[in-house]
Symmetry: C2
Subunit: 211 residues, 2 copies
């Protein structure tokens, strides 16, 4: 247990808590008071830590995500499960308006994206558009299409890397690949977006001052 803490960078108390909460599978009992843990435990703890610290997920969400992916019979259902659990609309949020749902459907048509019926991200996106409307800062359809068009090559590279043969073998690695591909690269994407905004903002300013 002490070694597990040292290798995962988590406190023994935290690890015991994860064991109680069912986030970490129990180790193999060795005598009455000791248990032995292996690589998979270290890996799972690192993943939990990344999901809570980096992806900022709540612990109950982490549990759902891991349980759902572990239970998925195929790679693709694992991906779907991760997307559903990681991206489900806030249950407390009101349902999206028909107007925004229609905008999302039109966007999917224009971009020729075919999603499973009732895909949670459709609701999430429609809801996000409603929020921008409610705040008096609606996102225009052209802007929405710029977003969709620009994000496509990113998604393409991600899907190709996720489908890399290396992931085929171990479910444990697949769990990580799904979660990391879906969640842990988001901070990279968002940091780059803010950097680009800052660089462009500075350029436009300089252009204005010099004109």
């Amino acid at each position: 247990m002490a070694e597990l803490a040292q290798r995962s960078g988590l406190s023994v108390a935290t690890i015991k808590y994860y064991l109680r909460e069912g986030l970490l599978p129990a180790g193999e009992a060795v005598g009455r008071t000791r248990a032995s843990y292996d690589e998979s435990h270290v890996r799972r703890l690192r993943l939990i830590r990344a999901l809570t610290d980096v992806a900022r997920l709540r612990l109950d969400t982490v549990r759902d995500v891991l349980a759902g992916i572990d239970a998925a019979p195929t790679w693709h259902e694992a991906v779907g499960s991760a997307h559903t659990r990681l991206g489900s609309p806030d249950p407390d949020a009101p349902p999206p308006t028909e107007a925004s749902l229609a905008r999302v459907r039109r966007l999917l048509e224009i971009q020729d994206w075919q999603l499973a019926e009732g895909h949670p991200q459709v609701l999430v996106l429609a809801r996000a558009l409603d929020t921008l409307d409610e705040l008096g800062h609606p996102m225009s359809d052209p802007m929405l299409n710029v977003y969709a068009h620009s994000i496509r090559p990113i998604a393409e590279n991600e899907v190709l890397s996720l489908r890399h043969p290396d992931w085929g073998g171990s479910r444990d690695l697949s769990v990580e690949a799904v979660v990391i591909g879906t969640l842990l690269q988001e901070p990279v994407l968002l940091a780059l977006r803010r950097m680009a905004q800052e660089d462009l903002s500075r350029r436009y300013d300089a252009a204005e001052r010099s004109s």
Copy 2:
């Protein structure tokens, strides 16, 4: 107060809590027990709600963000303030490695992005790369450049829309524009990315089955 609750969709108890916490400026006292609130209060409450419900920010972060933007003397310092406070590295997280910082600097060179010295997003990005390394799923430099290159047109459209003359007038609107531009469009971007991933994943699968 009751009207404020009705118009903002928040409970009176929540609004009183925000007043106590200094998130919402006090209304104008009308007699000893009543106060009058105006449009700016409704707008601020909607913004706080969006930041907590949509952007999932903690309340103390929301306070910092709003205070920082309200205090910024210029539009650009407001943008910088929002980026800093919204994007500061987790204080509990270890500092990024020199190797990742060097990768980020090289990326900025390749993309010709010029950022203010010690820009927080540089640390955030380097730290995110470290996390992917630690999890055994490093992001390659080519992939990082694909991300940066693809995100650029999105940032360009956002900066241009943020700089729209409409925002020039009212600081209140500017606060919203910064926060919304920085944060509330992120769910749109991330939902689109997941949709594209799902569509591409399905296409590759179909291609494999048919081959």
